[in-house]
Amino acid sequence: MTATSVRPVRDDGDVVVPRRRPWRWVGSVAAALVVGSVAVSFLTNPNYRWDVVAGYLFDPRILDGLFTTLRLTVVSMLIAAALGLLLAVMRLSDSRLIRGAAGVYVWLFRGTPVLVQLILWYNLAILVPTVGFGIPFGGPTLWSADTNALITPWTAAILGLALNEAAYLGEIIRSGIISVDRGQSEAANALGLGRVDTFRRIVLPQALRVIVPPASNEAIGLLKYSSVVSVIALPDLLYSGQLIYARTYETIPVLIVVCIWYLVIVSLLTALESRLERRLGAGFRSTVGDEGPRNGRWARWLRPNR
């Protein structure tokens, strides 16, 4: 073994002595100490009760709660996406009234806590005892129902989460739409494409590249903050766990089970997002070194092999 086989050698045969990096060593040792002590605590502290965790991981009540959380997230997100798109288009309208209406919506739903909105929706019957539709301002009613019968914990939860989320998604979608160069819709118009085709085929696919990363963030956020529905007694993942430990006092192990499931779902969503971003990135990658879409630092950090 000669010295040159150990040290980096450049193509011209010159030996390169690396710079010393003492702080990197200090940092590595500190990180190892922290990770190690947490791992030791996980493995040796009997209060984690890993046997109890294993016992509850696939408990039917927990799994029911998990599916409620998933349904709640998916349904709220779909409604919020449709409503958010409408809000975004309204905010880009030429009519001051339409712009204003969307602005007031965003102001109202983004400006009040979602917890308060949930409780308000759940108690809607106090404000309006019956709901229905018909000809407004004294015309005949075509359909009506008792509010109390309509507002279950489930509908109140969907209303609260979806209407709140729509305000955030609306702003995200709007920023995506205005990020697309004006020349794109001009070129489409010059070719004779109509407004709908121009939006659907030309503007939206490009806007989605900008929309998907923050919208995925919102989906992950929604998944977790949907746990506030426990205040209106809807048995989602967290509330199902709370119901169990309220009787058995196995608080920590049950909460660990709940966290494990949240982590599993968030990991799946993150993987899904990476795939989606990769597909939308077609045409935006450089030929050399496929780095994927270049839309923001955090999107790159999420990517599997950097």
Binding site: G183, A187, A188, N189, A190, L191, L193, G194, Q206, G283
Partner: protein, 256 residues
């Protein structure tokens, strides 16, 4: 020739942005098969005039007629009724446009860029649209790049693909808005070659350009614009070789 009606007739076109009027009543005739080069300094209104022809800009006064048809409006009982979007789209579909910055759709391949409008607007089947597109892309020298995304092409290749995209609609008129101004100098020639071929095949073209060599060689007419007016118009030899207007002379002395 003189008896036939011009393909493009502009009458008293005025356009203002806010209180600033950029076109002060422009008249222009272009006959079928002619190539008109619009020259003039930046801000003289050339691009705005071009964009009025396919109604990307609405004139504040005047009439645009292409093939005898009033663009953007229907005139009835002494009033101009705005046409429904569908009719304006049909009018635009017959007028190709090429932009300074190409404006290819970056999320589509070259082929997808070219077949998009023929399929959606003309209702051609995919196979018909693809056959036409491949033929046109071959004619502009892009046969090898049909599956490439615009980002991976040079500026000259992108502009040639954009020309093929415009031609795919079988337009009766092509508008070029400074098609070589965003190109590296060594790529200008390949785009001008494609435009020269197009002119030789009899396409009616209106070209906003700073390429005096191209204008001299290819144009049937050259119009010089300054401050929102056409002040001098005629054959390339007359306008470029022997300008009568003082503004034309001073402009040409700077660019030639």
């Amino acid at each position: 020739m003189a008896a036939t009606q011009p393909l493009v007739q502009l009458r008293g076109i005025r356009k203002r942005f806010g209180s600033h009027e950029v076109l002060h009543g422009v008249d222009l005739d272009v006959h079928a098969g002619e190539v008109l080069c619009l020259i003039g300094a930046s801000g003289s209104g050339k691009s705005t005039l071009l964009r009025c022809i396919n109604h990307l800009e609405r004139p504040n006064a005047g009439r645009v007629l292409v093939g005898g048809e009033l663009i953007g409006y229907a005139e009835r009982d002494g009033r101009l009724h705005e046409l429904p979007e569908r009719r304006i789209r049909a009018q635009r579909a017959g007028i190709g446009m090429v932009f300074q910055h190409f404006n290819l759709f970056p999320h589509m391949t070259v082929l997808e860029n070219v077949i998009e409008a023929p399929m959606r607007v003309r209702g051609y089947s995919r196979s018909t649209a693809v056959a036409t597109a491949l033929d046109l892309l071959g004619r502009v020298g892009m046969a090898a790049k049909v599956d490439a995304y615009p980002r991976h092409l040079s500026g000259g290749q992108q502009q040639r693909a954009a020309i093929a995209r415009g031609l795919a609609m079988r337009p009766q008129l092509m508008l070029f808005d400074e098609p070589t101004s965003a190109l590296d100098p060594e790529l200008v020639g390949e785009v001008l070659d494609v435009m020269r071929d197009l002119a030789a095949q009899g396409m009616t073209m209106i070209v906003v350009t700073h390429e005096m060599g191209f204008a001299r060689e290819v144009a049937s007419q050259v119009a010089f614009m300054t401050d929102g007016r056409i002040v001098e118009q005629g054959t390339p030899g007359a306008v470029l070789g022997n300008p009568t207007h003082e503004r034309t002379r001073s402009f040409l002395s700077k660019v030639l």
